[in-house]
């Protein structure tokens, strides 16, 4: 192997039909057999660049060189033929199909006219042995945990004889031990000769894994260097365009009266991941209670109980001393509940509706926004414009559809709506998943501010840095039970949380 680049981007620009310039003359090279990190905030153009490499998008100008030759990649199929595979941030699996069906989809082994299911299973077993990624080939994807789904996603990419594997923010949904395991596997793959493109905005991970980093900012190449030649602060500067502000650090404050008390709650649910088996917890006024746990440890069940979308099978929940039995979401919201849902476009808003409509929905029956049966559209619009300013929502205007916003800006608008009611109790479920550092920091400040004003906050997050930054106390969920209750002391590290999250230890 020489130092000749495996892939070279040469002056790639991309302008979308609506005039957005996503990439502006980006050029850099990737050497074979390395783990190459691509960093940048949300909307910096990382995903677009990777989509271009994978054939999902076409550049407006510029070219891609593979082994020194300019190539056209018009579709993922061609990308696969050229040995490029991709693990998507939002998995590209078909939920109702089995693991093996998902993996062989598009290049199915045949026996006569039929799908050779034995061969498919064998292929999956072989792959999973080779790359040390254990999955059950016959499981239906819908029933798998996120981490397992990611394994399937990786196997699916690897099943096509790839030379280059693109991973788009692969750790966003993983616990630290899962992340560590993933990194081990990725190092194995590199050792086996694979070139890995690793997209992330977590410096720690980039440092831990990659040997070379490329930084994109606002569609332009901001920096490109071997990791050995650049320190973290320099990378952060390249990412943010300026020095990052001092990090917020809370912890340890328990103040105020118990606001939400969950006692002895069991929940039977169809999905085993949502079941709860005897939960006791209290959220006090003025504190942020962090909830950690591997995805599918009962977080969803807990949220649906606390938001009134489900009723406990046994046990009780009180809200400021009053039992909530029989109260639905609407009644709880009237009592002062707010909720930042994990899936912001699925539950947090309506893509097709305007920002005004998304921002005011829920509050629209208040006297401020309606007279009799009618809405006060002017007042709604004015209020939304204020939110847009206060929450620094970058948008074409208050009457643009929510779909026109990037994930981070949409989340800020949704947060603006949820904070606007001055809630007594806020459930923040993965509040900053997949959004850029600046937006995340902004939301962190809002949550801290709410707690400071006496609000009770329940923070559910897979991002342990976030958890340790914001929480006053931490509970860890495993398989529907609380396995640890920890004070967020300065010495608490992600590594200490790991064993609890995987159910290896229990302290409760």
């Amino acid at each position: 192997m020489t130092d000749r680049p495996l892939i070279a981007f040469a002056g790639i620009s991309k302008t979308y039909g609506n005039g957005t310039l996503a990439l502006d003359d980006v050029s850099f090279a990737i050497r074979p057999g390395v783990i190459h990190a691509v960093c940048g905030e949300n909307g910096a153009g990382k995903s677009t660049l990777m989509k271009i490499l994978f054939g999902l998008e076409q550049p407006t100008s510029g070219s891609i060189l593979l082994d020194g030759e300019a190539v056209a990649i018009p579709s993922p199929r061609i990308a696969a033929e050229k040995g490029i595979g991709m693990v998507h941030q939002h998995f590209s699996l078909v939920p109702s199909l089995s693991v093996s069906e998902n993996i062989v989809l598009g290049q199915e082994p045949r026996r006569g006219a039929f799908l050779d299911r034995v061969a498919a299973r064998r292929r999956v077993e072989e792959l999973s042995r080779r790359y040390n990624l254990a999955v059950d080939p016959d499981a239906t994807v819908r029933t798998l945990s996120v981490a397992a789904q990611q394994k399937v996603e990786i196997l699916k990419a690897l099943s096509r004889d790839v030379r280059v594997l693109i991973l788009d923010e692969p750790t966003a949904v993983l616990t630290p031990p899962e992340t560590d395991e993933l990194f081990d596997r990725l190092r194995d793959m590199r050792a086996a000769g694979l070139t890995i493109l690793f997209i992330s905005h977590k410096l720690r991970e980039v440092r831990a894994l990659a040997s070379h980093v490329t930084v994109l900012r606002a569609g332009k190449l901001a920096g490109d260097a071997p990791l050995a030649a650049i320190d973290d602060e320099a990378i952060a500067r390249l990412v943010m365009g300026q020095a990052a502000g001092p990090a917020l650090k809370r912890g340890g404050r328990v103040s105020g009266t118990p606001r939400v008390v969950v006692s002895g709650v069991h929940l039977k649910a169809r999905d085993a991941n949502d079941r709860l088996e005897g939960i006791d917890l209290t959220v006090h006024a003025g504190e942020i209670l962090g909830v950690a746990g591997v995805d599918g440890s009962g977080q969803r069940g807990l949220v649906s109980l606390l938001t009134g979308r489900a009723q406990p099978t046994t046990g009780a929940i009180t809200y400021e001393g009053k039992p909530t039995a029989g109260l639905g979401t609407a009644a709880l919201r009237r009592l002062g509940l707010a909720h930042l849902p994990a899936d912001r476009f699925q539950d947090g808003g309506s893509k097709r509706m305007t920002l005004v409509e998304n921002a005011i929905a829920g509050a629209h029956r208040l006297a401020a926004f309606s007279t009799g049966p009618f809405l006060k559209r002017r007042a709604m619009e004015t209020r939304t414009e204020e939110m847009i300013v206060h929450y620094k929502v970058r948008c074409p205007g208050p009457n643009a559809p929510l779909s026109a916003l990037s994930g981070g800006n949409a989340q800020k608008l949704i947060a603006a709506r949820e904070f606007a009611t001055e809630p007594h109790f806020m459930i923040a479920d993965q509040p900053t998943r997949g959004i850029d550092v600046a937006a995340a920091a902004f939301l962190h400040e809002r949550l801290a501010e709410l707690a400071a004003k006496g609000g009770a906050v329940l923070l559910i997050t897979a991002d342990l840095d976030e958890l340790l930054t914001l929480s006053d106390r931490i509970v860890i969920l495993y398989a529907g039970r609380i396995v640890a209750r920890l004070e967020n002391e300065p010495g608490l590290t992600p590594e200490r949380l790991g064993p609890y999250m995987l159910g290896l230890e229990s302290a409760a």
Binding site: Y16, G17, N18, G19, T20, T307, G308, R309, G328, T329, A330, A331, L332, R333, H339, P341, Q346, D347, G348, G349, S350, K351, R352, M353, E357, A361, G362, H364, R365, S370, P373, F374, L375, R377, P396, N399, A400, P401, S403, A404
Partner: protein, 363 residues
């Protein structure tokens, strides 16, 4: 929103002329007087006030059925019961004015009201089954349309049939019950004003009222509605009851406006027209008015050439089918270059990259 919709409206109009030209020119050329055929098709409807009146008469039920469809579609309900509601609404209205002794002034309003309530069941029952049991409203409404037809025919045969008449028709609708004509020389009746007002009210409901806002939230994203704690089931049901009332009321208005007796022996097809009009107007109540007028204009023009020349009436049907496909063709209608040509500005973000071509799988 209205402006971009208007742009597509202009493109539609231009396109239609092209489509009609492409189909009609060869047909016209096979006839002795091709120019007259085209001329009649395009200008005929405006040459005689009666024909212009026909456009308005025909657009009246189309607007209301379109409104009924739009109200339900906006709430995310694929309810096709408008057809049956229109039929049953017409029947119940006529039954009321025939069977219930009412003072003359009350006949029309009470009749239409009763018709609206009875007829709305064809939309409301699928709505209830969906809200209560999550049973596909598409199937149940499609089936109930036919059930409504045969139940209606049974009612006519056994309770309303005029034995002196030679066909299965009801007794004559009393003159006092009929809706007053508005313009001499045409059949344009009070119902047209009602329909226009209904479209206006529909716009107010959908875009300016709390109830309509909530319905649109449910329609555009039920999970979001659940997040907000909106009472989804009752909102769904309410939308379908409102839709049913409008459609069935339209049936009553049509009967008292244009008919002498209840004489439908099969589903009149206005429900399908309503679906077409609503899709053309992109479920916008105000745009329903031009959409319905436009469709009716095409129809009247087509009727005129079929009547006056040897153009088979089926050719007119073919033209209309083609028109429907073309005017909803996003490849043409949402072509950014065309939109820029019409509005003179760039299209809004998100509109041009709407690449998901195939929607509408049945939940």
């Amino acid at each position: 929103m209205i402006r971009s919709a208007f742009a597509s409206f202009v493109i539609t109009a231009v396109l239609l002329v092209l489509v009609v030209g492409i189909v009609l020119v060869p047909i016209a050329l096979s006839l002795p007087d091709p120019l007259a055929v085209l001329d009649t098709f395009v200008f005929g409807p405006f040459r005689n006030p009666r024909h212009t009146g026909n456009i308005v008469e025909m657009a009246t039920p189309a607007m209301m059925c379109g409104l009924a469809v739009a109200v339900m579609f906006r709430a995310g309900m694929f309810n096709l019961g408008v057809e049956g509601a229109f039929f049953l609404g017409g029947l119940a209205t006529v039954a009321t004015v025939l069977l219930v002794p009412l003072p003359a002034f009350a006949m029309a309003p009470v009749g239409i009201l009763v018709g609206a309530v009875v007829g709305s069941s064809v939309c409301a029952v699928p709505g209830y089954l969906r809200a209560r049991y999550e049973a596909s409203e598409l199937v149940s409404s499609l089936m109930l349309n036919f059930a409504a037809l045969f139940i209606g025919l049974f009612v006519v045969n056994y309770f309303l049939r005029d034995p002196a008449a030679g066909a299965m028709v009801s007794f004559r609708i009393p003159a006092e019950a009929k809706l007053p004509k508005l313009i001499a020389g045409t059949r344009i009746h009070l119902g047209t004003l009602v329909a226009l007002a209904a479209c206006g009210l529909g716009a107010v409901y959908l875009f300016m009222s709390r109830a309509g806002f909530e319905a649109r939230i449910v329609g555009s994203n039920p999970s979001f509605a659940a997040h907000l704690g909106l009472p989804i089931r009752s909102i769904l049901l309410r939308s379908q009851v409102i839709g049913g009332l409008i459609a069935a009321g339209a049936g009553g208005i049509e009967m008292l406006g244009l008919y002498q007796r209840f004489s439908w022996q099969s589903l009149p097809g206005n429900g399908w027209t309503g679906v077409v009009v609503a899709i053309l107007a992109r479920d916008n109540p105000i745009l329903l008015i031009p959409a319905a007028l436009f469709l009716s204009y095409l129809q009247v023009g087509g009727d005129l050439i079929a009547r006056n020349f040897d153009v088979p009436s089926e050719a007119v049907g073919l033209i209309q089918a083609l028109v429907l496909v073309v005017v909803t063709a996003q490849a043409i209608m949402r072509n950014p270059r065309l939109i820029r040509l019409v509005t003179g500005k760039k299209p809004a973000a998100g509109q041009a990259q709407d690449t998901k071509a195939v929607e509408g799988s049945v939940a």
